[in-house]
């Protein structure tokens, strides 16, 4: 580079960086502090900018785009309220380890700390809910910071990275020079697992009499599904997925015991409790998954735990064989060792174990009382699965409908199930569906939601109109915040404090007001026809809002009450 190398503005540098990172979509909302950046967006055609109606939705949509593709999601918001509106989205992505880069505008450098208009300490506010964040104080640092941000977001245990850029930095000029690679002495994520530990794990698996495999979001995020399937089929082990791990192993496979946890299946939870060797992969033994760690404890069980994040290991549950590494790399090594080894688990013990599992399975914990009078929410999800041939991208909001979606829609492929598992953010469903639809324009995308959740980001119906996103909304409308109501029924003496959704809008008219198709379905006999129509070629290009009026008092079963252990489930027939 010599003096003749052209200098370009910080805003243009940023745009060029995004181009270098091969970004296809930026979800955002303009404002004062990012006007220079938006001006450069106007002049380029390398990526598409998706204008949302609220910054929270920008981050959710970018998050879902990442979940559906594996690429880093990118959101752009202005300073102050734009930045704070983005925080819920950032915290949501952080809890589920989603790789994202969020660019926020900041007031000009000299105004920082002066309580300037639309000023907020974004780096301070987001510190506890990001993998890392940066404030770019010099235009010469824009390119290297963006490079680092993408690298940190996508490597190791992924997560969101915030880059806060003051307005003057986007106006000042510098030479654009995008680094080819990043090296950080303070950040060197482990990829390869310790081979001694891996050998130990394989030996334990081969000696297991009552094995169990338990996998989480790490398998989906680490694109390790194929290797997992190979391993589980080779050994003939039973397997369960967490809420975040669904799709990591095909749900229609006979070795799959369903989801585990607070609303997991009887067979999955019992097998977790009674197994002698537990192989945990990309999962973190959280409270909704194993309940109370003291109740979960079983001295006759040996735990192998594979995870990219050392701090996830032995956090809530002590494990015997920890393996820190990328799940893909570790599973590949395990599969290789198994291929070279002629030993296999003792068939007779495995058979006895499967007989026990089948006995648990025969409790048929996911049955519900069928009705011809009132629409059962589970029935809608079952029909949705049939109509979409189990091949849709399903997003959900948070609550009962989320659990029914997880229990009754059988995900056979990874990245098809998009929901907020860790933070449990109501309102994600619609923006998640937008991100998934933009990532896969030809795919069927459905948002399973409830009348409470959907209203938290309902303004995005407008974004769907602008970008012609033919998302199908499946609104399980029970006129209650269902999960709150369920806890109030079980644990608060039927005192339904503030959980009733009064004064609901006419969702059909609302959808129509935004230029979409609205349907109201009140009879069980109409459910299938409505779904078929919504997914018919005639409505392929249209967004359809299906308002299913469902049973008000339906509850999610099985249920492990808060603070109990996995074998202390309440089953539907016990009430």
């Amino acid at each position: 580079m010599d003096d003749r190398t052209p200098q370009i503005s910080g805003a243009e540098i940023l745009i060029r960086c995004l181009q270098e990172e091969n970004v296809k979509f930026v979800f955002g909302y303009p404002g004062g502090a990012v006007l220079n950046i938006y001006d450069e967006i106007f002049k380029q055609n390398h990526f598409k900018h998706v204008l949302v109606r609220h910054e929270q939705a920008a981050v959710h949509a970018a998050d879902a785009y990442s979940r559906a593709t594996g690429e880093v999601g990118v959101a752009l918001v202005t300073s102050g309220p734009g930045a704070t509106n983005a925080v819920t989205g950032i915290a949501t992505a952080y809890m589920d380890s989603i790789p994202m880069v969020i660019i926020s505008g900041q007031v000009p450098t000299p105004a920082i700390g002066m309580d300037a208009f639309q000023e907020v300490d974004m780096v301070g506010i987001t510190r506890p809910c990001v993998k890392h964040n940066f404030l770019v104080k010099d235009v010469k640092d824009v390119a290297s910071t963006i490079k680092k941000a993408f690298y940190i977001a996508a490597s190791g245990r992924p997560g969101p990275v915030v880059v806060d850029i003051p307005k003057d930095v986007t106006a000042l000029t510098a030479v654009f020079d995008y680094p080819k690679s990043v090296e950080m002495r303070s950040y060197t994520p482990v990829i390869k697992g310790h081979s001694g530990q891996i050998k130990k794990a394989v030996k334990l698996m081969l000696e297991a009499k009552r094995p169990m495999v338990y996998t989480g979001g790490g398998v989906v995020l680490g694109d390790a599904s194929e290797m997992l399937v190979k391993l589980v089929r080779e050994l003939g082990f039973p397997i369960t997925n967490t809420l975040m791990g669904l799709g990591g192993y095909p749900a229609t496979d006979k070795q799959f015991l369903g989801m585990l946890g607070m609303h997991g299946t009887y067979e999955a939870n019992m097998a977790m409790q009674e197994c002698d060797v537990l192989v945990a992969i990309g999962a973190r033994f959280d409270d909704r998954v194993i309940g109370n760690p003291q109740h979960f404890f079983n001295k006759n069980r040996t735990i192998i735990h594979i995870d990219v994040d050392p701090s996830s290991i032995s956090k809530r549950v002590k494990v015997d064989v920890p393996i820190v590494g990328h799940v893909q790399s570790v599973l590949a090594e395990i599969n290789e060792l198994l291929q070279a080894d002629t030993k296999r688990p003792e068939a007779a013990s495995l058979k006895t174990w499967w007989e026990q599992i089948e006995a648990w399975r025969s409790r048929k914990c996911l049955t519900y009382a069928k009705s011809t009078e009132v629409i059962k929410p589970q029935y809608v999800v079952e029909k949705l699965w049939e109509v979409t041939k189990g091949d849709a991208f399903i997003t959900s909001d948070v609550g009962q409908h989320q659990m029914w979606a997880a229990q009754y829609y059988k995900f056979d492929k990874p990245r098809r199930w998009i929901n907020s598992g860790g933070l449990g953010t109501m309102g994600v469903g619609l923006p998640y569906a937008m991100g998934a639809q933009l990532a896969h324009p030809e795919a069927q995308v459905a948002c399973i939601t409830g009348e409470a959740s959907i209203q938290m980001c309902i303004q995005e119906l407008s974004t769907c109109k602008q970008f012609h996103l033919p998302v199908k909304v499946v609104n399980l409308n029970n006129r209650y915040m269902g999960m709150v109501r369920q806890w109030q029924e079980f644990f608060y003496g039927n005192r339904y404090s503030e959980s009733y959704m009064d004064a609901l809008p006419d969702f059909v008219k609302l959808a129509e007001a935004y230029g979409h198709v609205g349907m109201k379905i009140e009879k069980p006999s109409d459910v299938e026809a409505a779904l078929k129509e919504a997914f018919s070629p005639a409505l392929k290009e249209r967004m359809v809002f299906m308002d299913f009026i469902t049973d008000q008092t339906e509850n999610v079963f099985p249920m492990v009450p808060n603070g109990k252990g996995l074998s202390e489930m309440i089953l539907a027939e016990e009430l």
Partner: protein, 163 residues
């Protein structure tokens, strides 16, 4: 149990608040925390005195390592180490106190670094427990003001924390 954790981190603005924020967000104890740049100006060295069960300490070390700005972490309690803390105590030095305070300072190998009509300021260096012992040995009525730096620690012999 009390642990002294030493760490090297990038000398960047905000790095300290990442560590402090981690301790408050995860409800870890923090008895003292000291930080200053090292001979390499790009690095800061921090000493954190904390307490907790072995499981909690293990998590603290892992969580610290996870911070992107943290380069290296060492639990000094894993081996032999030296701990030093500096304390300045302003004490009454009137009447019988004038002689008494001088004597106490000598016993604890402190130094009187400021002398005024009514007070002495004593400088004392040592482990946290030695400083505690000194304060306990003093007549409470004599103590006007104390300031402590918090502990700094370093491994003995070949135990070196460096990149």
């Amino acid at each position: 149990m009390k642990h002294i954790i030493s760490l090297l981190m990038e000398n960047e603005s905000g790095a300290l608040s990442r560590v402090a924020g981690l301790f408050s967000a995860r409800a870890y104890n923090i008895e003292s925390l000291t930080v200053a740049p090292t001979e390499d100006a790009t690095l800061s060295r921090m000493t954190i005195v904390t307490s907790g069960s072995e499981d909690v300490i293990e998590q603290i070390i892992k969580q610290l390592n996870k911070l992107v700005d943290v380069v290296k972490v060492l639990d000094l309690n894993d081996g032999r180490y030296i701990e030093r803390e500096l304390m300045l105590v302003k004490v009454k030095a009137t009447g019988p106190f004038r002689e008494e305070m001088k004597r106490m300072s000598d016993i604890f190998r402190g130094r009187i670094i400021d002398v005024a009509d009514g007070s002495y300021t004593i400088e004392l260096t040592g482990s946290g427990s030695k400083l505690d012992a000194f304060l306990e040995a003093l007549d409470k009525a004599a103590i006007l003001e104390t300031v402590r730096t918090g502990a700094s620690g370093i491994g003995r012999g070949d135990r070196i924390l460096k990149i």
